[in-house]
């Protein structure tokens, strides 16, 4: 798509970077993004090196695999060890549970299969009607409507859903409550926003005076977002702006939102190392209970061990420390032998930094 090439134009990037330097105030400014793909764009294209020293972009809890609490991995492990085939995204396999990861459950004889999406899980279940399947449904608002669509269509009888979807706006609100974490603005996640639209972010400028810019994932999308946030700071206003107009509409994806509200209820949910956040997770509505893997196979784990000793993944996830500030980073914890979820997932900040050789 030729238009997209424009969002990687190095000449334009240079000009925006120059403009950013001009707008940058002389105090330390911190903007927070909440998406693993934004972290990838920042790191892969070396965007931080284009920003002046006093304009920082930190990574919030935007990696859906990293934020999964160990208790929910434990539930999936239990399913696998009980003989239920667990289908899920490849990224989830090595995420540590309290005792075992799904990869370790597989080594113990559990049947764990990697799928590209929920559609594959439905297909597998249809092809092997004598096996019980459970789809481990993780992901933010971007992924939840896909699960909802399959549930509404009437899935095969031998398939159930271990629903572990999480919602982004409550996680952003959490960050605002973290005492000594000072944030000057949010870069909101483009693909979550594709589904939810702009309205759920209105609270940030109106109640918290916090600027928000919804941004896409090309290098210029992120630079434009930083520029727009700096303009807001310069004008002493807090607005909600949409940089990603080519995809994000004010009302979001209405069809997808309808599916979410037909199939799920919003409930409190655990976030790895961060405790339970109010109204931050989705669960199947009562009328779809027969598809709930927790009910059907009686697996429910309330508490787990979220962090192995020494792992600071929870602090990395809220942007309080950089991966390099974790003493285990690239020592006891590497992509080959990860100690925490943030080093497992391709969207985890620790892994992105490790893979790109970022040292500080």
């Amino acid at each position: 798509m030729k238009e997209l090439a424009g969002f990687r134009d190095p000449e334009l990037a240079k000009q925006v970077a120059k403009h950013i330097r001009k707008l940058a105030p002389d105090y330390l400014t911190k903007f927070c993004h909440v998406c693993g793909t934004h972290e990838w764009t920042m790191t892969h294209f070396g965007l931080r090196s284009l920003l002046p020293k006093n304009v920082e972009v930190i990574a919030g809890p935007g990696c859906p695999v990293c934020v999964l609490p160990a208790a929910e991995i434990d539930e999936a492990v239990e399913l696998a060890l009980k003989g239920v085939t667990v289908a899920t995204f490849g990224d989830v396999l090595r995420v540590p549970g309290s005792d075992l990861s799904l990869a370790e459950a597989r080594a113990k004889g559990g049947d764990v299969r990697v799928v590209y999406g929920v559609g594959d899980a439905v297909k597998m279940a249809k092809e092997e009607p004598s096996r019980e399947f459970a789809f481990f449904a993780i992901g933010f608002e971007t992924t939840a409507p896909l699960t909802a669509n399959e549930v509404l269509k009437g899935p095969p009888k031998n398939l159930s859903f271990l629903v572990s979807h999480r919602l982004i706006p409550p996680a952003m609100e959490l960050l605002l409550g973290v005492g000594d974490l000072h944030i000057d603005g949010f870069i909101a996640p483009g693909h979550v926003s594709t589904i939810i639209g702009l309205k759920p972010y209105e609270v940030f400028p109106s109640a918290y005076r916090m600027p928000v810019v919804v941004a896409g994932f090309e290098p210029l999308d992120v630079l434009f977002a930083v520029d727009l946030l700096l303009r807001q700071l310069g004008d002493s206003v807090a607005r909600l702006e949409n940089e990603y107009g080519r995809v994000v509409r004010w009302e979001g994806n209405v069809k997808a939102l309808k599916l979410i509200s037909q199939v799920f209820d919003v409930v409190d949910g655990g976030w790895r190392g961060l405790g339970r956040l109010p109204s931050s997770a989705l669960t199947l509505k009562d009328e779809f209970r027969e598809w709930d893997a927790r009910e059907r196979h009686s697996v429910r784990v309330e508490v787990g061990r979220d962090l192995l000793p020494g792992c600071q993944c929870h602090l990395v996830m809220i942007g309080k420390i950089k991966p390099s500030e974790c003493p285990l980073f690239m020592g006891a914890c590497t992509p080959e032998s990860p100690r925490g979820a943030c080093m497992v997932s391709v969207e985890g900040t620790c892994r992105i930094w490790a893979k790109h050789g970022v040292k500080r």
Binding site: E3, C63, Y116, F140, T143, L146
Partner: protein, 76 residues
């Protein structure tokens, strides 16, 4: 996880469409969540199209930024 990739719609059969990710990579995706037409670009996430990409809007965004930066250039 929230990664989504643009693809051009080639054929539509009900909820399933054949799309082209470029360089000859063709795949079937679910288009139940969008109103996509042939030759339009959609954003694909985990086997589903989640939105139609507005190409005019993409051009407009770039045009505006080019203009703004040019206007502000003298004071940079």
């Amino acid at each position: 996880m929230c990664l989504a990739i643009p693809a051009r719609v080639i054929e539509i059969h009900g909820d399933v469409a054949k799309v082209d990710f470029g360089e000859g990579v063709l795949r079937e995706v679910n288009v139940a969540l969008v109103e996509a037409k042939i030759d339009e670009y959609v954003l694909v996430h985990a086997g589903y199209a989640i939105q139609v990409i507005d190409r005019k809007e993409a051009e407009e965004t770039l045009r505006l930024w080019n203009e703004i930066l040019k206007l502000e250039e003298p004071n940079v």
